[in-house]
Symmetry: C2
Subunit: 211 residues, 2 copies
Amino acid sequence: MGKVTKIPRPTIERLALYSRPLEAFQESGTPIISSEKIADLCGVNPAQVRKDLAYFGEFGVRGVGYDVKDLLREIKRILATDRTWRLCIVGMGNLGSALALNENFRKRGYHFVAAFDSDPAKAGMKHPCGLKIEPIGKIRDLVKTLKIEIGVITTPPGKAQRVADLLMDAGIRAILNFAPIQIRAPECCVVENVDFTLKLENLVYHLHKSS
Amino acid sequence: MGKVTKIPRPTIERLALYSRPLEAFQESGTPIISSEKIADLCGVNPAQVRKDLAYFGEFGVRGVGYDVKDLLREIKRILATDRTWRLCIVGMGNLGSALALNENFRKRGYHFVAAFDSDPAKAGMKHPCGLKIEPIGKIRDLVKTLKIEIGVITTPPGKAQRVADLLMDAGIRAILNFAPIQIRAPECCVVENVDFTLKLENLVYHLHKSS
DNA sequence: GCCTGTGAATCCATTCACAGCT
DNA sequence: AGCTGTGAATGGATTCACAGGC
């Protein structure tokens, strides 16, 4: 409390990163951890870790370190991962299907409660994950009645923007986009893009450069 | 030419980003494009676009803009996406399977030439993508004989580091990791992480903050 | 007039280095 | 002695603003 500082975006991203080893330490019963240890495991600078945490309070004890359990709880509270969230997937191709079946999401509190696909042949079918595949036209209705908070887009690139617009129309304010295009959205909606081929192009550049 | 400037990492990432709309413009036959247009479509500043490109040469014409075809060719040459690359996937669960079937990769010149899984029940099976699933033990051999250049890891987090070590042992120097852990690798190997849940945690923070 | 290429200015994030507490 | 919390210093990257060429 006190200062009203703006939190740097990278700080938020790293908080999530820190929580990974913290979870492991909590499970293994380690009670205390130092900024240096966290930094080491996450590949960042120890001062960075301390500064990131200090934005939100004084969680550590000088001369000692951080209490693993407390710190993890604080981070989860900050990130708002201490509750569950309701998501939908749009585009039940191979990727959408794989995500719906992925256990990592559920384990972290992300529950898929609806699945959509524009293919009339798919609509109505029951997906192995347990969800019935709904037509795109039902997005508006279901987002509201099922109180969906986050939309995941796994459509082909050509359809992604239209789907995003539908989701936003329905009141969605957070989108995770897997289509390799830049989604345009107003301020009020947060969009995160996951573009594998972008990452590959990065790899390939470095490979080529150092050969 | 001339100055030996160090290229900022973000510049490389954006070059790949710029190539997306350029491809669309090339297909639609638009001959010339301005830095402002590119910037707009990619959500960056026009000066940024010009500076990024200027690191590699003078591709534009003052008072006119950039020739779409030329620029795209140059970017592809810089990123080394003007050739094909040989990859393997390790971990043929839902995600690995979906990636192997994903057309986006092939279209951009990324060819999966081998698939591995540690599950003996899967080894030997033919995957719908056309590849035979090989046991982990064959990584070393096949990476060499098939001249695999990039490894994609889609195993559970517990196995990811071991798989990465195997790949690097076999001579792989670029890894795309989908497991939600931080892969440790020496300088000589480039690692890109794709962690969906990290992205979700970001979204969730922003949702929560602005509610 | 228009749009690129680029030094200069600004902004932001990271790292250092040490004071402060246990 | 040890490790956190934090102002100060550093280092990068982004943006501005304008000179340069069509």
